[in-house]
Each structure stands twice: as structure tokens, then as C-alpha cells.
């Protein structure tokens, strides 16, 4: 029978990772769903017993979310409005049952094109912190997820935390997910947006789209176009050229690619208008 490891320290986990190929397990919501087996197959490294991987809190440079933190932990955490979109996404990951077990870092590592957390974390300029027995490194999330089910995780390496730099913890944010039913749904398209304002003007916009290509993407051209724009009529500035052109959606059972691009554009518009409306109301 293959071994099941549940170490209490990161050091022990990294030693195990260095020794042999293992499946890293946390919430197991993707791992179990991918096998008909009665037990997790192969050699397993369960990281949920490692205290160092827990916690959501401030660091010198920003905010750190430990790799073992679940979506429910994210919802409960005391976070600035820039994270509202992440909390909204957290509440739409599967069901409450899934949110209680599934981890945010696992959502990233699973590298599904429809990962609910990805657009939000991209719009938060998130970085992943990786560790192996050889040391630690950080890389932008945008570089970490390289394709469907593909990441830049090296041999013997694991994600130990997600960091959001101070600069990205500012502003207001919002997330929208479009699916064919209300709960327990894999999205057709989703959008996360964060706006930093200077009075009634957009100082900086961070906008990302998921489920419309192999990996969720930031909409750089749109962000540039919105910089310095007045809050009023923000959604009207969103054009297909600024959104759809930067996506590569596919046809599948949930929708066709053309629809996805169109829907993403509309969702971006709505998210921005809703943010602008909320900001105006608050002002």
C-alpha cells in the first residue's frame, strides 16, 4: 500500500517531497473528484497538518494567505475591500461543503481554466511562494499557471503561500460568475475587477477574466484605457476590442466561444458599472 504522509512541519514535508514523487493533498476536493477509487491513490503528502501553512495576515510587504487556508477561511478573514471580489468568488466555489474543505492555493495548483480564484488573484497582483528543500522563491501568479492543468511548480516544490503586495490591497473590487445554474456550477465566464480611485477618477484598474481561455488573463489594454477615466460611464468605455480580442475562448458543452467572448465583455461592463455605482454612492 502506498504511504500517506501527514507531517506537522514544513521541513518534514519538504524532505518527503525531495525524496520521492508524491501527490500533494490539501482539501482533496479536486483529487477525490478525479478518481473513482475508495481511497486517494498513490503516495500522498497531506499538508493540512502543517501549522506554518495556516493563517491569513500582514507581512512587511503585503498580505499572506497560507497554502492550507480554505475558501471558508478566506470568507471569514478580516480583509480590505480590495479583497471583496475574492470573498465573492470564495462563496461561489462549488458549495459550502467544498468551501469548507477546498483551499485557495489548491484551486491555483489544480490549474483549471475555470478556477474561480484565479481572476481575483490576478487582479490582486498575487504572487505564489514556493518552497523546496533547496530553498524558497516567489513568482507572479500570472507566470505560475502556464496552461490547463499546468504550473511552473518544480520538482520537489510546493506552494506554501499566496502573497498580495501592499500596492494591490487598495481600492474596491467585485467578482461576477456566469453559469447555467445558481449553485455548484462551473462557470461559462467570470470577471474580477479592482479599481483604485482618485476622487471620481480611476487611478488604476485591475481586471481579469476566467473561463475564456486556457488560463485566466488580465485585460492590460482595457486597464490602460480606463486609467484616468471618470467613474461616470465607465462601463460604456468597455469595447469588444478591449476585452474579447484578448481572450481565446473555446466551444464546449457549456457555451460556444463566440458567446463566451461576448458575455465576458458584458460582465466586465457590469462589474465596472456596479463598482462605479457603489463608489459614487459611497462618495
Amino acid at each position: 500500500m502506498a504511504a500517506y504522509h501527514r507531517p506537522e512541519t514544513l521541513e518534514a514535508a519538504l524532505d518527503l517531497l525531495a525524496a520521492a514523487p508524491v501527490t500533494i493533498a490539501a482539501g482533496c476536493t479536486d483529487l477525490f473528484a478525479a478518481t473513482p477509487a475508495r481511497a486517494l491513490p498513490g503516495e500522498v503528502l497531506d499538508i493540512t497538518g502543517i501549522a506554518e501553512l495556516r493563517g491569513i495576515g500582514r507581512t512587511d510587504t503585503g498580505l499572506r494567505i497560507g497554502a492550507a487556508m480554505t475558501w471558508s477561511d478566506v470568507v471569514r478573514a478580516d480583509l480590505p475591500p480590495a479583497f471583496d471580489m475574492l470573498k465573492q468568488a470564495a462563496r461561489e466555489v462549488g458549495s459550502v461543503q467544498i468551501q469548507n474543505a477546498g483551499t485557495m492555493a489548491g484551486n491555483i495548483c489544480n490549474a483549471s481554466p475555470a478556477a474561480d480564484g484565479m481572476p481575483c488573484l490576478l487582479a490582486l497582483d498575487a504572487e505564489v511562494e514556493l518552497a523546496s528543500s533547496a530553498g524558497r522563491r516567489r513568482m507572479p501568479l500570472a507566470d505560475f499557471v502556464t496552461g490547463p492543468r499546468k504550473t511552473a511548480l518544480g520538482k520537489g516544490e510546493m506552494v506554501i503561500a499566496v502573497h498580495v503586495p501592499d500596492a494591490a490591497t487598495r481600492g474596491q473590487s467585485r467578482f461576477e460568475k456566469l453559469g447555467a445554474r445558481k449553485y455548484l456550477v462551473i462557470s461559462i465566464a467570470m470577471v474580477a475587477a479592482r479599481l483604485e480611485l482618485d476622487g471620481e477618477t480611476v487611478e488604476r484598474a485591475s481586471i481579469a477574466v476566467g473561463s475564456c481561455g486556457p488560463v485566466a488573463v488580465r485585460l492590460g489594454a482595457l486597464e490602460v484605457a480606463l486609467t484616468g477615466a471618470p467613474l461616470a460611464g465607465l462601463g460604456a468605455r468597455v469595447t469588444p476590442e478591449l476585452v474579447a480580442r484578448h481572450l481565446s475562448p473555446i466551444d464546449d458543452i457549456r457555451a460556444d466561444g463566440g458567446y463566451r467572448a461576448q458575455a465576458a465583455t458584458e460582465l466586465v461592463r457590469r462589474v465596472l458599472d456596479s463598482l462605479a455605482g457603489g463608489c459614487e454612492a459611497a462618495a
Binding site: P36, A39, Q97, A180, G258, Y259
Partner: protein, 895 residues
């Protein structure tokens, strides 16, 4: 196998336990198979259905996704730990459990919510339960129950003579809310063999086996193939068309078809990698006939012809014509097929989920070469059926293993196996033309429908037969021509699914009616009222009906219709990208077999010690026959329900009540129960020489009858018992009087029809194409409402399935074999539902009652499509109406 597992200490329902098991084992498996806590159900093993929801330190999680190691030292609470809570009592009182398979998951999710939020609002309840799927209830009664958990007993059982019409809690509900109900996968006798199937990876495929003896010897298992089948290796629900092998021979006609079985010690079988099974696959010729004996792949055609429909269309003032395409639809009951088989002497006993115990018995006996009396079917509870569990699944396979080895055999299909190998709703390609005269009266109707029946016959003949009979809808249609064809393909078997093809046909007919009404310039509801079939009019089969309730249903919608149209208009006047619309559609549906016998026999008796027993052979798959048939019987005898004990279903103990199908149990078995109750009462009245109005009471071994002349007592223990142990007994059979259809489809195919009409209100997002159904008003004619609580549950559940069919459900073979790619509605997708019951008594039904189970699904999808068209102009011609299709249809309409 005895392996040196770590031992994990945890608390389960407050008790410390120590479990030796693999650390990575699913908690659901540990709870069920190691701790015997079968109340935690497994529906998908993927977190998609939530049936396995348990609390870990108070937080709801899916036990199927939780490795044992992660609950070490923690507190796990399962449904068995709830112990008769107010929530469970509310579930009973409110009728929140139908089949009951999702009930434990619902209860646990709700328990977590109520602990943090003791007085939640509806939205909070829906969100908390959003992760648990239910296929029976449409969620309405579940949400109501969670909103109504004030402690307190229900109304209790009604007095003698007052059962019919009362909101009686389901009599078999206790075990469902306690988690103690035994479903197909919930029995695990000692020393059993676990059975798994090797299945065809695609189709058509030719296959040959390698050295299966060496494989068996190497692993210490037993292998069975078609060569081991002692009887006729062809089963099927309609004997004349039986064509489906229990195990395929040389070639498989559909993906997922079983070709071999492995059986052995559960741990060994579980660990087997079936990819290593010695079988060679070779792609078959998909241009070849699916069955050599069926030219053009035609299984059967159906026809109903009355008058000259083409001439009528030629002379019509208004004509509407269109096509409609509907996909495979999966039943998606939360319980995958499962069961056990064992030998009792030379009798093979099978306990599995089913809707048709006697049909199972006869088919299994044929396949296994046994006399029917040497097979006994003891149905487990069925965790949903909706038609698919009429067909055999695991039964012949576990039967074969038990018969060959003499040991108990158990098989539990995975969600993927269940979806790929069991029946579906027939995909349909239909076209129709309907014409009306200048006044808007229907003049002629031509319908053609092609139904993909897949690899095997199953219920294809029934679909091809029912569709032409029903495609007119419940409207007077003087000239009619309806042709249907069921054809084979190398795709999943299409079988019975709530409505047998009628829902597909109604989608086309009812959407065309909206176009015709518009062309005639008549309000859409008025148009239907104008054309509604009336007492004394002939159907398209030439059957003159009495007790026709469609007009009453449509009349009942008049007020809600006007209000809804005004609401939609007012909302649309505000502008914006959300457009509101209202749609209406009707249904009719004949109860029981189409022009063929389908009797039910009910036995009842009183024992010497005064026990009143009802042998009730109708399988209750959640629809409520255990309760409804008891209500009818109890009032017929004149004794209170509280005295009644149910026996069966069990083919050794209960006479045949036929299949739970065709909306026939309340009507056919209900009528047999009425007759049996009346016969038993007559015998009591005769013995006591009392009058018709006598009041009966049963107290221990003394039966008393009291009328105006006084009271008489019978001491039961002094009377001789019959072979069944009864001192007083009755057994009655009822078979609907029908006339078979002739070559033009003329006859009297059903003795009783039920009617209904539903109205849907929708909000369509015109830039995203998403559709939200905000309200459904459903008027159904039940003839006589036996149990309003359970009947409402049928309506709400049927609407949920109709809504799914309209908006999200599409089974794609090989692609949607799970419950996250195949979507069914969740709590958050259901509209507010108002149910209006209409009682137009049927002259033939028991106490006037008509069937309801399938009717309720039929109008929902067309009413929604009509509402979408009303809101946006979009004409959907391919289901489901996914957002991208709605948007495309809108673009087409606005061109």
C-alpha cells in the same frame, strides 16, 4: 484482507471510535463500510451532489471528499446523530422527503445552518442547501421545512374514514429522515463477493478475451462472461422486444456496456485495475445495422390517423409549422444503481433498487434459466427512479454471481457507470404543422417525430406508441396525422423517463400553439380554452372521454394569467436589459399501459390477534404510493390508518401490483386497494350483520361494528386462519378497461387520463441570454386529491425536472458522465411555485382519482419556452435553452 493500517481515533456522533483503515480512505466509505453508518449516502464521489454531507467539528463537508486522516481527533456528526430533532420532524410534517436519498445530506447541511442562524430567511436556507442536489422535490418543501422547525408534533393520523383528502405525512417517512432507510447500497451481508463490471470503452466495438482464467487465478477472483449465463442472454422491459444482453457477446453496441464481471473478496476487487483485464477491443462498423433483424435501424413506428389532416391544413386560415430538437436527458436520481443477491435454498433473492419487482423477477429468471418462482425480488428503497429503474441494471449480474458461487454478491455502480449504462430520455427530432380556422379553432394537425432509442429496445416501443396518441395535447383536433419512429443507434439506451416521449412532443405542440394564437389574434390562454377537449368529445384516437379536466385547469389560470401579464408589462415598461415574459402550456396523459392489460392485485387481511395488514406491491420510489394506497384502503374498510401495517413489496409476499410507471399506481393499484377494502368491509358487515353505515373498531383481538341498531363484536381468535394467516381477508384485482388501437391508432388506449396546465413567468437577460424562472402557477386535475401534501410534492418535483429540461439538461455520451458537467437544478434555480388542484372526477378512477406523476413535468418546459418567446421574441428550437442558444435565438428574432 487484513492489512496493518494505522488506527485513527475520532468522535462519531459523540462516541469515541477507533478505526483501522487507510488514512486516505474516503470518510464516506469509513462511515458506511467500517462503522455501519449507512445514513450517509454516496451519490457521486465527487462533491457534486452533497448527499454525503456530514459535519466535521460542526462544519458541513462532503464525506466522499474527506480523507480519514483529516478527521483524526475531530468530531464527526452524521444523520444518525440527529436523534429525532425538530428539523427531522419538520421534514416529515412538510413532506420534504420523497425518495429520501438526499434527505440525510439536506438535514446535515440544514443543521449546520440552524446552529449558526436559528431563524434563517429563505435566501439563507437556499444558499446553505445549494450544495445538496435533490431530484424529487423541487426543493420547495425542503426549504419550507428548514424555515419551520418550531418544535411540535404534526397533526397525527386522521380518524377512520377521514384519510382520503388529508395531508397525511408519508407513512414510510420515519426511516428516511432518520437515515435508517435501506437503499440498494445499504446492505452488506457477511462473506459477500463484491462484483465489478468490465465495460466497453466505446461503441460499436468488437472484443475478444485473453486468458481470463490466468487473470482470475492471479488475482484470486472469479470472472464471468456471457458464456456463463445459463438462460437467454437477452432482457428487456417488453418481452417481445427483449434484446439487451446482461453481458455482451463478442460485440458491444454502446459505451459502458458490461462485457465481463469480476467477483471476489471486496478488498481485492476494489483494488483491481480493470484496465489490466485481458480483453482486446476492435472498433466496429458504425454503418452496420445495430440489430440485424431491424432494417433501417427502425425498432418500431407509431401512427394515429383521424380524418384528413392534410386537407384540413390546406383549408386552414392560420397555419404554424416548426421543428424541435431535444437531447438525451439523464434521470439523475441521486442513488446510483446498487443491490445484493443471495441464495435461500434454491431460490435466488435479489434486493436492489427497482420500480418493477415482478417484471424484474420474470426477466431475471429468463436470463438465468430459472423458474420465476425460484427468483424472489425484495426491493430496497429506491433513491429516485423516474422511469430508469424499470429496467434491469445490476440485478442479472449479481444474480449470476450469487447463483454460480452460492455466495452473496453485491454491486454498486459508480456515478459514471450509472450514467453511461442506464437509460435516458429519448432524444427527439420532431416537426409539426397545425392549422386553425378563422375563429382560431384547430382544424388539422400533422406531426412527425424521430426518437433515438439507442442501442437496445427498452421502452422505445412505448415511446413510439404514446407520442402519436398524445401529441395533439388535450385539445379537440378533428383531423390528425401523427407518425413516430423509434430508431437504433450505437448510443445509450433510451427508455422510460417521466412521460415516455410525451414531454418532447408537448414542447413542439405547445410552442406552435402560441404562434397560432398570435396569428389568429387571440390571447394565448383564451386560444387554449377555446380548443380544450370537452366531455363527450372524441380524442385523436376516437375515444370519447368523460371527466375531462383541462378546461377547469385553464379556467383556474385565468386570474393568475392576467395578473402575470400585467406584472410583466409593468416591469418591461421600466426598460433595461431584463425582459419579462409569461407562457402557458397544457398537458394530458393517459394512465397505465397503452391499450394493453396492466392489472394490480391487492391483498389485505386481519390476523387472529387483530393486526390489519395491507399487502401493497406497488413500489414507492418516493412518489408516495405506500401512503396514498393505504389512505384509499383504510377509508374503504372504515378503519383508521394508524391500525394499518404495510407488507411488501416482495414478490414472495405481495401479489403483483405491476410497475411504478405510467402514472398508474394511484389509479390502478389504488382502485384494487379500494376494491379490496370494500370487500373486506363487506365481509365484516355480513359477519356482524350490520349496515353500510356501520362504524368499525379494532381493539386487540376484537373487531366491533356499530350501526344504528347497536354494536356487534367478533372475537377474531375464535376464527380459523387462511393460508396467509388471516381470519378475515380480501384480495381484489383491477385492470383498466381499454381497447387496443387499430391500424390507424383508433381505440381506447387508456381508461383514465389526467390533465393540467402550467404558467411560467421568466426574466430574460437580453445581453447575456440567461433565463430566470420567477414563478410557476400549476393547475392540475387529479379527479380526487387523495393526499394534497404528497401531490404538491409531485407537482413541485415535476416542475424542477421540466425546468432542468428546458434550461440546462443535455446528456452528451462520453462527456457528461458526472453531476458537474450534467447539470440539474439546485435550490437556487427554482421559482416560487403555486399549485392549484382541480377535482373533475373520473368515472373510472378510485373515488374519481386520476394519475399525476408524469403529467406534472409535461407543461413546464413549453411554458418556459413560451415565456421566453413572449419576453424576447426568441424561438428556441433546440433544447436546452442555454444562454448562448437564447442569445442566438434572440439575434435571429430581432434580425
Amino acid at each position: 484482507m487484513n492489512r496493518g493500517f494505522d488506527s485513527f481515533a475520532l468522535s462519531v456522533n459523540g462516541d469515541p471510535v477507533r478505526v483501522p483503515a487507510e488514512p486516505g480512505r474516503r470518510l464516506s466509505e469509513v462511515l458506511r463500510e467500517r462503522l455501519g453508518l449507512f445514513g450517509t449516502k454516496v451519490g457521486c464521489d465527487a462533491g457534486d451532489c452533497g448527499a454525503c454531507t456530514v459535519l466535521v467539528d460542526g462544519a458541513p463537508v462532503c464525506a466522499c471528499l474527506t480523507p480519514l486522516a483529516q478527521v483524526a481527533g475531530r468530531a464527526v456528526t452524521t444523520v444518525e446523530g440527529l436523534d429525532d430533532s425538530p428539523l427531522q420532524r419538520a421534514f416529515l410534517r412538510r413532506g420534504a422527503a420523497q425518495c429520501g436519498i438526499c434527505t440525510p445530506g439536506m438535514l446535515m447541511a440544514a443543521t449546520a445552518l440552524l446552529r449558526d442562524t436559528p431563524a434563517p430567511d429563505r435566501e439563507q436556507v437556499e444558499a446553505a442547501l445549494g450544495g445538496v442536489l435533490c431530484r424529487c422535490t423541487g426543493y420547495a418543501k425542503i426549504v419550507e421545512a428548514v424555515l419551520d422547525t418550531a418544535p411540535g408534533a404534526g397533526p397525527g393520523l386522521p380518524d377512520a374514514g377521514a384519510a382520503v383528502g388529508a395531508r397525511v405525512e408519508r407513512l414510510d417517512g420515519g426511516p428516511k429522515v432518520a437515515g435508517s432507510e435501506v437503499y440498494g447500497a445499504d446492505a452488506c451481508p457477511e462473506g459477500l463477493l463484491l462484483v465489478r463490471a468490465v465495460r466497453a470503452p466505446y461503441a460499436p466495438v468488437l472484443f475478444s478475451f485473453g486468458d481470463i482464467h490466468a487473470f482470475a487465478a492471479h488475482h484470486g477472483v472469479e470472472v464471468f462472461t456471457a458464456a456463463d449465463i445459463p438462460g437467454v442472454n437477452a432482457f428487456g422491459t417488453i418481452p417481445a422486444f427483449a434484446d439487451q444482453p446482461a453481458l455482451a457477446e463478442r460485440h458491444a453496441r454502446m459505451r459502458g456496456e458490461a462485457v465481463a464481471l469480476v467477483a471476489g473478496d471486496p478488498a481485492v476487487i476494489e483494488a483491481l485495475d480493470l484496465e489490466t483485464f485481458p480483453v482486446t477491443w476492435q472498433t466496429g462498423d458504425d454503418a452496420a445495422l445495430v440489430h440485424d433483424t431491424r432494417p433501417d435501424n427502425t425498432l418500431i413506428t407509431g401512427l394515429v390517423r383521424r380524418g384528413d389532416a392534410e386537407a384540413a391544413l390546406a383549408g386552414a386560415v392560420h397555419v404554424a409549422a416548426a421543428g424541435m430538437e431535444t437531447p438525451y436527458v439523464e434521470h439523475a436520481y441521486i442513488e446510483p444503481e446498487a443491490g445484493i443477491a443471495w441464495m435461500e435454498g434454491d431460490t435466488l433473492v435479489i434486493q436492489a433498487c427497482t420500480q418493477a419487482p415482478v417484471m424484474d423477477r420474470d426477466d431475471i429468471a429468463r436470463v438465468l434459466g430459472l423458474a420465476p418462482e425460484k427468483v424472489r425480488i425484495v426491493p430496497s428503497a429506491a433513491g429516485g427512479g423516474f422511469g430508469s429503474k424499470l429496467d434491469l441494471s445490476v440485478q442479472p449480474l449479481i444474480g449470476l454471481v450469487a447463483l454460480k458461487t452460492g455466495r452473496p454478491a453485491r454491486m454498486i455502480l459508480s456515478r459514471a457507470e450509472s450514467m453511461m449504462s442506464t437509460t435516458k430520455r429519448h432524444p427527439a427530432r420532431m416537426s409539426a404543422r397545425i392549422g386553425a380556422d378563422a375563429d382560431g379553432r384547430i382544424a388539422g394537425f400533422v406531426f412527425d417525430g424521430e426518437f433515438n432509442t439507442g442501442a437496445y429496445a427498452s421502452w422505445g416501443p412505448t415511446v413510439a406508441g404514446r407520442v402519436p396518441v398524445h401529441a395533439s395535447g388535450p385539445y379537440h383536433t378533428p383531423a390528425y396525422l401523427a407518425r413516430s419512429r423509434a430508431y437504433h443507434s450505437y448510443e445509450p439506451v433510451s427508455g422510460a423517463f417521466r412521460g415516455f416521449g410525451v414531454p418532447q412532443a408537448a414542447i413542439l405542440q405547445e410552442t406552435l400553439y402560441d404562434e397560432l394564437a398570435d396569428k389568429a389574434g387571440i390571447d394565448r390562454l383564451e386560444f387554449r380554452r377555446l380548443n380544450a377537449l370537452r366531455d363527450g368529445q372524441a380524442t385523436v384516437c376516437g375515444q370519447v372521454l368523460q371527466g375531462v379536466g383541462i378546461s377547469a385547469c385553464l379556467d383556474a389560470l385565468q386570474g393568475p394569467w392576467r395578473a402575470a401579464l400585467e406584472r410583466a408589462e409593468a416591469r418591461n415598461a421600466r426598460g433595461g436589459c431584463i425582459r419579462h415574459g409569461v407562457g402557458v402550456a397544457s398537458c394530458w396523459y393517459g394512465c397505465g399501459n397503452t391499450g394493453l392489460p396492466n392489472p394490480s392485485t391487492v391483498r389485505a387481511g386481519i390476523t387472529a390477534d387483530g393486526a390489519l395488514r395491507l399487502h401493497q406491491g406497488a413500489t414507492d420510489i418516493g412518489q408516495g404510493s405506500n401512503t396514498v394506497i393505504s389512505q384509499i384502503f383504510a377509508d374503504a374498510v372504515g378503519l383508521p390508518l394508524s391500525h394499518l401495517r404495510l407488507i411488501g413489496p416482495d414478490t414472495a409476499l405481495t401479489p403483483d401490483c405491476g410497475k411504478t410507471s405510467a402514472s398508474r399506481q394511484t389509479y390502478v393499484t389504488g382502485k384494487a386497494a379500494l376494491l379490496a377494502g370494500q370487500a373486506l368491509r363487506a365481509r365484516i358487515l355480513m359477519l356482524t350483520n350490520t349496515g353500510e353505515d356501520a362504524r368499525l373498531s379494532l381493539d386487540g383481538g376484537v373487531l366491533s361494528a356499530t350501526d344504528g341498531r347497536g354494536s356487534r363484536r367478533i372475537t377474531l381468535s375464535e376464527m380459523p386462519a387462511d393460508a396467509n394467516g388471516y381470519v378475515l381477508a380480501a384480495e381484489e384485482t383491477y385492470d383498466p378497461p381499454t381497447v387496443p388501437l387499430d391500424e390507424n391508432g383508433q381505440g381506447a388506449p387508456y381508461a383514465v387520463y389526467g390533465f393540467g396546465a402550467q404558467m411560467a413567468e421568466v426574466a430574460v437577460d437580453c445581453t447575456l441570454g440567461t433565463v430566470r424562472v420567477t414563478r410557476i402557477t400549476a393547475a392540475h386535475d387529479l379527479g380526487r386529491v387523495i393526499n394534497p401534501l404528497l401531490a404538491e410534492g409531485q407537482v413541485e418535483g415535476g416542475i424542477a425536472q421540466g425546468l432542468g429540461m428546458a434550461l440546462m439538461e443535455e446528456y452528451v455520451p462520453g462527456r457528461t458522465e458526472n453531476l458537474h458537467d450534467y447539470l440539474i437544478p439546485t435550490t437556487g434555480d427554482m421559482p416560487e411555485i403555486e399549485t392549484i388542484f382541480v377535482e373533475v372526477p373520473d368515472p373510472e378512477g378510485p373515488l374519481g382519482a386520476k394519475g399525476l406523476g408524469e403529467h406534472v413535468l409535461i407543461p413546464t418546459a413549453p411554458a418556459i419556452l413560451n415565456a421566453i418567446r413572449h419576453a424576447t421574441g426568441a424561438r428556441i428550437t433546440r433544447l436546452p435553452a442555454l444562454p448562448h442558444r437564447v442569445l442566438a435565438a434572440m439575434a435571429e428574432a430581432w434580425k
